[in-house]
Symmetry: C2
Subunit: 169 residues, 2 copies
């Protein structure tokens, strides 16, 4: 598990091979089994494979190249009708997305969690002719990675640990 978590990268270039439907289903299953407050499961998914629609969605972000090159997109929405606490719902959706990214990686697929497009989330919703209750939270681009060795980094653990004046241990 730790290796899968640590070797996952944002993959931005994809081969032209289309991922198998069975693998896409596993990824969605992973997203579906995330935890949420009161088990309200506020996440909704929209899968796009149609090239014309993928290209059109790509125009709503400055990272259009990543989206254009992806054979599959998973758009993740918050269902405002299912929402009970925005902070908790957003964390739950983050958990669901992370499940999907880990599942993709463990299937040797590459994915990128795209957030810049949220600047135009209302335009994306209208373009897709979706109900007002669906708020775009992320676009996940998905495909087989072109490059194998991608680097990343994180702050050292010591920089993330909080101390307290109280005795913690």
């Amino acid at each position: 598990m730790l290796t899968t978590i640590k070797t996952r990268r944002s993959v931005r270039q994809y081969k032209e091979i289309i991922p198998k439907n069975a693998d896409i289903k596993k990824i969605l299953e992973a997203g579906r089994w995330a935890p949420s407050g009161l088990n309200n499961q506020p996440w909704r998914f929209l899968i796009v494979k149609n090239k014309g629609v993928i290209n059109a969605i790509s125009e709503f972000t400055k990272y259009s190249k990543v989206i254009k090159g992806a054979p599959v997109l998973i758009l993740v929405f918050l269902d405002l009708k299912a929402s009970y606490n925005r902070d908790k719902d957003l964390m739950a959706i983050g958990a669901s997305i992370q499940n999907m990214l880990l599942m993709a990686h463990s299937l040797k697929l590459g994915a990128c969690w795209l957030g810049e497009i949220l600047n135009k989330k209302e335009d994306v919703r209208k373009f897709l002719k979706l109900d007002k209750n669906l708020e775009l939270m992320a676009v996940i681009s998905l495909g087989y990675p072109v490059k194998k060795k991608l680097k990343s980094n994180r702050k050292p653990l010591q920089a993330l640990l909080i101390n307290s004046a109280l005795p913690l241990f």
Copy 2:
């Protein structure tokens, strides 16, 4: 991966055995390697093992029993100084928490993601004498599970999939 994701449960009762420091470190490593927008890594962690402090924290939620019975707590905070977009930061913190829950489960530890305590997040922060820039996002209780077979359920995938008037495939 899918099995780990699907068999993870919220574990609310723990044995008195203290989890190993090496395992707690693996869980924090998993949390550290989550993705975040612009790689801003807004998560901060506070570990508590001290019984007196655990008991005091338990008083800030109606689920005090879960917290009181846990040998270890991981408190997860958003560092408002590292924040750049609240929605994205909350999703990133959700991803970090999910990494920790999956890591705990894969180590045969049990964990519970507690959110009700956020109703008193300012009181918790003051009790711990923490800086105003640290906003409590979740408490994760951690320990070896007493019960082995816990059930859960999710909406069927069909109920989560969005359709569009546009041709998606």
